[in-house]
Symmetry: C3
Subunit: 361 residues, 3 copies
């Protein structure tokens, strides 16, 4: 969690709350960024406190103290329990109030919700829905993030704009040629693209042979001036967790032998208008080269945070809170990945809403 321990954001309560998929794994942050200090976050418009107990196990519980509404994530961990920063009530990892420091110390029976939290691939995955449905096997595979053969550079930030605009962005890399001067390559615009939906997983693929890569990738791969075969697969899982599998090699190399630059782009809605953006890009060469890391991180951070984010923020503002399809967007071939992802997500959210309506009857 690279974001400073700052103020709780002012939440806009005008208009209806956003629609979110609740039964899904969202990335809550980098596992090794959660240390002894707890962290306050807003996910899906709900306050959450993240902390580690004495055994180092990470927990996510409701982030608003039921006593006087202070942010629990701004408190302290004491004996593995989270102490409220205002009056010192303590909560355990399942959100139960377990200690009252005042007078006779009668412990209130009211606690806060607990959210299933799984630490996997150096990420913290949070489940904001029905607890019994939280199956860790549903977490998409990002094994390379925790594999010592791979060296990642990474970041985490808060991005203005609806989270689906951010997943659309990754599912259509053709924007690179206009948004990212260093990542411009013909492969993105005139190369072959294909799209497929596999259950609830959506793929966009790019295939382009014997052509120059972008300047930025050439700098990483040392391929300047050399034509390469290129393939890129982007895997989307609901609600907005993406793997970008970038491959290149000398012409004729089989895809499984190409050099791979895998990346994670995870978008967790904070509100309707703001998104936690957690990203990483890894390589399996130049391991431990800190200078290489710094250059690679600098370039990618610039691309994601200073090139993607402003244009998406401005598009979001120009949408003025209106629903995406109501604005009748032009759909180009390159949008097929994003459109498929939007359809899957809409189907999953609608099914969830249907179940909730049925349960309420």
């Amino acid at each position: 969690m690279n974001i400073e321990r700052g103020a709780i954001p002012r939440l806009d309560r005008s208009g209806a709350p956003g629609r979110y998929l609740r039964n899904a794994w969202y990335v809550a942050g980098w596992a090794d960024d959660l240390g002894e200090e707890p962290v306050a976050r807003i996910f899906l418009e709900e306050p959450v406190a993240l902390f580690r107990d004495e055994a180092g196990v990470a927990h996510a519980i409701g982030g608003r103290c039921p006593h006087r509404f202070a942010p629990l994530g701004h408190g302290k961990v004491i004996d593995g329990q989270l102490e409220c920063p205002y009056h010192g009530l303590r909560f355990d990892g399942v959100g139960k109030c377990v200690f009252n420091p005042h007078e006779k110390g009668v412990v209130p029976r009211v606690g806060v919700p607990a959210y299933p939290l799984v630490e996997l691939h150096n990420l913290l995955w949070i489940w904001m829905g029905e607890v019994s449905a939280a199956d860790p096997a549903l977490i998409p595979d990002f094994g390379w993030l925790a594999d010592p053969k791979w060296e990642p550079v990474r970041g985490a930030t808060i991005a203005e704009g609806h989270y689906e605009l951010y997943s659309d962005n990754i599912l259509d890399i053709s924007h690179s040629n206009f948004v990212h001067p260093a990542l411009k390559a013909d492969a993105w615009t005139i190369g072959k693209r294909s799209f497929r939906t596999d259950g609830d997983t959506v793929w966009t693929e790019y295939d382009h042979l014997d052509d120059y890569l972008s300047d930025g990738i050439n700098a990483i791969l040392g391929t300047a001036g050399k034509k390469q075969d290129f393939w890129c697969g982007i895997r989307w899982n609901a609600p907005a967790v993406l793997l970008l599998d970038y491959r290149a090699a000398d012409p004729g190399t089989p895809r499984e032998d190409m050099t791979i630059l895998p990346s994670l782009h995870a978008f967790t809605p904070e509100t309707k208008d703001t998104t936690h953006y957690i990203w990483a890009v890894a390589r399996d060469f130049a391991l431990g080269n800190q200078e290489f890391n710094a250059a690679m991180k600098g370039a990618l951070e610039h691309a994601f945070e200073h090139e993607d984010m402003p244009v998406i923020r401005d598009a979001h503002r120009l949408m003025g809170g209106q629903e995406f399809w109501s604005l009748k967007p032009i759909v180009l071939t390159g949008d097929s990945g994003g459109v498929r992802a939007r359809r899957v997500l809409e189907r999953l959210i609608s099914a969830e809403e249907e179940l909730m309506r049925a349960a309420a009857e």
Copy 2:
């Protein structure tokens, strides 16, 4: 009024206006901060201009010029009248338009409201309700603020958060042990507490014998390493004016002979979301010691403005505009003072609303 002559705040007009007690004395600011320059303020969502006439008498009148809506509090006092900063209409202390500098100088018959304003104990007290009911005898006693035997340090700021959250905070000093490292003392959490309602006045009392005081108080009283008897009474008057009467002395000293550190905590709503916080803490020793003043003011300002205010701001934001009781807060024993104050205030506001409804029929 330590706040700079700045812009009028942008007022949020979404949702219903706040509920306020109108027939009550609110602190408008420090009397000696109102000099030759008038001041623009928002109280209870209403613009007010404060100024002194030629005799030095302070007045509060409506803060929006009825001509072109400029802030009268940003104008000038000329011959004891308040001149609008935009086109120069002048208003007297009862809000009557008394001068028109243009052409034939016909003076408009429309003025602005006048608010009863009393200068007492070096504070300006404003009455935002029915003029005929404005009885200065209702102002709670803060005589020590104007008594040369007492030397106060003080401040005034704008605090984010509903004003009742701020009075709750003073009525339950047990938060000190979690919010204010320098003011931590067992007395607040495990000492004896009692609560009483006396008419419309609410008291919280702390009683704790033969124990160490906090580091911060020890620094003021010179009691480091010495056990003390301790008593503290907090008096609340509607809507949110509090006296904190802190006493300590060597064990066995009668309460009336203890050293006293009296303090004022006055909270005047600017809007539903922001509060004027006017505070002072006094002592009856080290009079005129400017070094002592600076250290004491620095420590207290830090505690009130940089420790209390952020946690209350965040709690306010996490409440998201919802009504306090609708969030079903846990109530601990220590909350009894705040709960009593909320009940008295609710009773007073409801009675006022009932009267207004009756009058309207």
Copy 3:
């Protein structure tokens, strides 16, 4: 366009949109500020992109890409067409999509609106209404802005406050004596004023003989210590384009022989709460004197941007989103110009709304 290429403003969608006259020429900016870089603007709550084609002809088209809603005005001009900064679709000067850089390059049939744009008197004039009604002959005359006999100093900024408050301000210069210390003169308050409506044009006139001018004007005209005859005519055209024709000379000089300082004050609504303020003041002496220019510009910029704008911003905030007449403003004689302008504008907007209702039936 002196405003930096920054973020699209967050548009407030709470409450109803503003009422605007659509069939009218609005100033979009200074012609020579629009160079090779396109510009993104919001006019009347609508996004607009301004750019020049290969022939240097300026165009205004819808500012939100119909593909993914990115701000076209943040794109690039390529071969005289405007390229979207996000995925590279290109649009021509009439808003037609003319190029798709992706795959087979099928060009979408959906474009963006085109707004009639006229370059005249070094200003860009935009028409936000019915295209067929956009008659350049309706543009009010500011020939001096493009006449080499006149040397203007000028500015363009975004001002907080409703645009009618800004035109009111210019139609009643009597505020100078309270808002602008350097422009204070008896002429404004006790001089003779007259008002007339000539079709849809409103005039305020000031006439004052044989008296001292303001310090600021004396500095420009070199008239310190010398009594002057003075005349000033302010011409308003809907919706909020004003000429201020300031004249002075030794007593007895016929009006047509006086020294003239003509100025432009054009107010183009960005939103209900913010206004593009484009201004210029010219002289026909000391031509090419850059030191004179800098001093004159500094003084006027200070007056308009640091004296007028704060008081109007604060008045706007104190109006709290309420309709002007609903607040029952006091009307002084000096307001006659503004009131006439408001009436003409109301009549024009109502007529337009009536036509639109009729067309919809």
